[in-house]
Amino acid sequence: MIHLDGVTKRYGDTVAVDDLTLDVAEGEVCVLIGPSGCGKTTTLRMINRLITPTSGRIMINGQDASELKAEELRRSLGYAIQSVGLFPHLDVAANIAVVPRLLGWDKPRLRGRARELLELVGLEPEQYMGKYPRQLSGGEAQRIGVARALAADPPVLLMDEPFGAVDPLNRGRLQGEFARIQRDLHKTVVFVTHDIDEAIRLADRIAIMRDGRLVQYDTPETILDNPVDHFVRDFVGSDRALKRLVRVPVRDVMDTAPPVARRSAGAKEMLAEVGRTRFVYLVDEQGRLTGWLDRAQLKGGCTVEDALSDADPAQVAVRPDASLKEALSRMLGLGFRSIAVVESDGRLVGQVTLGSVEGAMTESDEHQGARPAEHMAEYSAEDTSDDSVLESIASDDQGDCT
């Protein structure tokens, strides 16, 4: 789909990009990564001709990019950048519709498209259409930046650290949503980042660059398992086993039948359930996670009401889109041996245990190069036995409620 052939960019005596040849297949996410100054952003900006190559050829969908009119070329390539660059004087709907308007779409179609895209990036259309950029949080602005890039349904997306300006929690969430969107849309994506976790999580292929040259261009699995040299090995880091977990979405390994009781059902049912499994999640009438009850905390004559803990899903749960690494680090951070999985509306849909994380790590070691996700599905199906019982590590120390 995108083919770079011997592309070089020189500024005076300095070579920003040096004889780069790279193929991005249709529907694939190619992540360009490397230390700052390695030429990754220059490469991206040469694709939509914001920068003119000194030499070499860039073919997009079989056509030489330099033969197209620059503006028309750019309208056919979605573009999202770290600083987002929403137009402050236009509301969200108009911001999303910039490219379709340039393409001459009519008004109702523009509004409809903006609505559609807001839903796609997980923002309530009625609430956001009329807002202005200055009224948005960083995460919301970046979501709208992505929606704007997708507006005219371009086959290719160019993204320059599109999630770089938000806090790590939000970045993880945006990555999850991007992965979900990409699963449905199958765009050809060139994605620049300096965050190796982000690259491993999102890429079909990672292009590691250094001093304007391509050092290694491979699938994340290959790069983790067979780095071509010391530079790549150091760049990827020593925790490669852990990094593999970044590739695995929680959805693929979660136990979809966690022990659960309705809060409204009363103490008796909750006790019955906790007697069987030592631990239950508590949900409300709509199935939303509200807390949990741990048998360890029932010691010392506590009532059920004293022993149950209230939960803020944002703190003690992960989304199905989250990576297994995120789930693991949450568990470790909270001192839990399992963590609840909730949808964006708070509904409890499963749980991830330390055991299933362990399993995922061994599985991917055994099946190097294969898509871990497929194996995880089998694994999690077997693993709904007793060791999926959640024990709060912390709660062992506080056995009574005096």
């Binding site: 900006r45 914001l50 070329l73 950048i81 402050p88």
Partner: protein, 394 residues
């Protein structure tokens, strides 16, 4: 008890008004329009002024006890009432002085009156400012507009019914009614046309300056130097070349291009309008977030689309601020161009200076001040109205 800090500005205005009422003359009765005359104090003006004066003082002190928005209304009302009271009292004073005087005699406005008006205006303005404050912004423009309208109504009443039409300024106007309004229109036209010409040249120049550093240095440098040339010198400099041109090419003379008159005036004024417009256009464009420009280009906007759909709308508030500054400047400098034969309000000033007739000077100067204020307020209002909602200050 004074629980809130007093408004120092309002207090200053009130004290100024009070002191000038007691110490300085309200008006001067002169045997004719040029001769010196006898000052008359406010004490002679009778009780009409006492009421608003007392109300004002009470209001200023009471306002220290009020909440911010209420204080704004109290002070604004007091200032407006005082202005009205002064106008009516001055009319009454003038009428009473003229009763025994020959018809050639004139009553000029005294320094005490001017300073009282200034004091009252300060009080009203401090109240107005308090109303513009954040807490009361929700009340909108409508409530605040009551005060300038009330002031205008008071002044009109004082002229129509309060005897203000007997003062010297009104007499000067009466003599020159036939030329006064055409002069106002000529003044506005000259300043307006020059401003539009300045805009037509300044905005493109500002846009080019934002694109090209070399042109920027030249454009800002030259317009800056123009600004330092005194207006009289500028007009003088233009006379010789324009006269030579029109002598050499009769067709230019037929078009009305001559060394004196409106042509040099318009050229000079247009040049003066350039600096604020060029500079603000350039700054407005330079301040557009580079990320916004990059996003626009990356999405496939052409240079023109980027400029007119993104950069100019974002720069517009600053451009209009430049237009406002230019307009106020031109209204003032236009008066000077009367010296090279462009008939306008400035003509009254120079005639008055020539005849040593202070009230004739006022007949030119006061409308110029009013025009400048109207231009200032009007263009700020327009600037607010066209500022895109998304970039307006919260």
């Amino acid at each position: 008890m004074l629980t809130r800090s007093p408004d120092r500005v309002a207090l200053t205005g009130a004290v100024l008004a009070l002191v000038s009422a007691l110490m300085l003359p309200a008006g001067t009765l002169r045997p004719n329009r040029l001769a010196q005359g006898d000052p008359h104090s406010w004490l002679a003006a009778g009780a009409i002024l006492a009421v608003p004066m007392l109300a004002l003082l009470l209001a200023v002190f009471a306002s220290f006890l009020c909440s911010r928005s209420l204080r704004g209304h109290v002070l604004s009302s007091a200032g407006v009432l005082l202005i009205g009271g002064i106008a009516l009292s001055l009319g009454a004073l003038s009428e009473s002085l003229m009763v025994d005087a020959p018809s050639i005699a004139r009553v000029s406005i005294g320094s005490g009156t001017w300073l009282m008006l200034a004091g009252a205006a300060i009080v009203a303005f401090s109240g107005w400012q308090a109303l513009m404050g954040k807490e009361s912004a929700s009340q909108g423009t409508h409530v605040r507009m009551v005060y300038p309208l009330a002031t205008a109504a008071f002044l009109f009443a004082a002229v129509a019914f309060g005897g203000l039409d007997t003062i010297s300024l009104a007499a000067e106007y009466g003599i020159r009614t036939a030329v006064f309004w055409p002069s106002v229109i000529a003044h506005l036209r000259l300043a307006g046309v020059s401003l539009v010409l300045g805009l037509a040249m300044g905005v493109p120049l500002g846009i080019i300056a934002a694109r090209d550093a070399r042109i920027r240095r030249v454009a800002l440098g030259v317009t800056g130097i123009i600004q330092t040339i005194p207006s009289l010198a500028m007009l003088g400099l233009l006379i010789a070349p324009l006269a030579a041109l029109s002598a050499a090419y009769p067709v230019l003379r037929q078009l009305g291009i001559r060394g004196i008159g409106e042509t040099p005036a318009m050229i000079a004024l247009t040049l003066y309008a350039l600096l604020p417009i060029v500079r603000n256009t350039y700054v407005g464009l330079a301040e557009v977030d580079p990320a916004v420009v990059d996003a626009g280009r990356g999405m496939g906007m052409s240079r023109g689309q980027l400029l007119w759909r993104v950069e100019m709308p974002l720069a517009l508030p600053l451009v209009l601020e430049g237009v406002r500054a230019g307009a106020v400047l031109l209204v003032g400098i236009t008066a000077v161009t009367a010296l090279v034969g462009a008939r306008n309000l400035g003509s009254f000033i120079f005639e008055g200076l020539g005849q040593a007739a202070p009230d004739l000077i006022l007949l030119g100067a006061l409308p110029i001040i009013v025009l400048a204020i109207v231009a200032d307020v009007g263009l700020s209002f327009i600037a607010d109205a066209v500022t895109p909602k998304g970039v307006r200050a919260a």
